[in-house]
Symmetry: C3
Subunit: 131 residues, 3 copies
């Protein structure tokens, strides 16, 4: 068993939230670890990771829409690559989530799903996990 | 000793910050664990958790007020439950905090307290802890 | 080996981002720990910690500038010390980051650096680390 696992995804638009809960659950299950904490980490600087509601896809649309309202792409920025808004959103949302593992399962609330947050896609992205 | 502990609280308004530091301290103390990291996790999607100043209650009022300014309840949202702002705030603040435990005590700065952040109350809420 | 290490820095302006990656890397290296998670924690309530791009310093300028746009110092605040904006920014950015350690090294993406975020400087500040 490797101590660090990798999830690979492909995002489909500039702003995107991808539910990775089932992949995380599978890695936790395969690890055989009963109790601990799962750290899910994004090694990118224009993406983030968050836990939010997965039942209604409009929640993700609203989160991404509001982040775009707060940090529009064409703000007054110095960084020349045209993706400063993506870097700001990455720091607002954060680069990792910690989820408790109990009896081999993720301890998540009824409505909670783990979402990779793309802020400068579409791109191929990686997510690292350790338990 | 259970590996995961639960704190139950009742919030008192739609936006609310509840200081749970003493409950966290007590669970850490009872665990008998000397050194490690305490993960405090919120299993809800319209609430968050943060560490900030506890001496002046106006700091919490200002944080909640500013979050309401940035993400007003009646924004242009698609999610039909009328609490999209709460979901956005939850992702801005985050679903967990990590606090170092040394010699059986939480390592917090002089002014730091751990606050449960209610964004869609009043409600009964749970917080999970593991060390 | 102490279980908790301290990094001391001096920030140079009211809003400032200080790259502490090399100090974190050195502490991880000296710990001799091969695999785990490094928790980097800020014991202050008007500062935060984030992971973002370190290649172009304009990225930090843009992040701090945008945070100042979103949470201006002279907003409608009750807290009398004139630094409510700093407390709000601290909760938006967060008080800790978690970085995976594999084979004795920090697992960071190509462009990722760990930044202490000063929101009420210049000041002398501390950062705590445990692995």
């Amino acid at each position: 068993m490797k101590s660090v696992s990798t999830i690979k995804i492909r995002t489909s638009s500039r702003s995107d939230m991808v539910d990775i809960t089932s992949q995380v659950r599978q890695i936790v299950s395969e690890s055989g670890i009963s109790d601990g904490v799962c750290i899910v980490f994004v090694p990118h600087t224009t993406a983030g990771i968050t836990i939010n509601e997965g039942a209604d896809p409009n929640v993700c649309t609203d989160i991404l829409g509001k982040l775009n309202d707060l940090v529009p792409r064409d703000g007054r920025f110095l960084h020349m690559e045209g993706n400063s808004d993506s870097h700001v959103k990455a720091s607002l949302v954060g680069s990792s989530v910690s989820v408790i593992v109990e009896k081999g399962s993720l301890v998540l609330g009824t409505w909670q799903k783990i979402f990779f947050c793309e802020f400068d896609g579409p791109r191929s992205r990686r997510i690292y996990l350790t338990i």
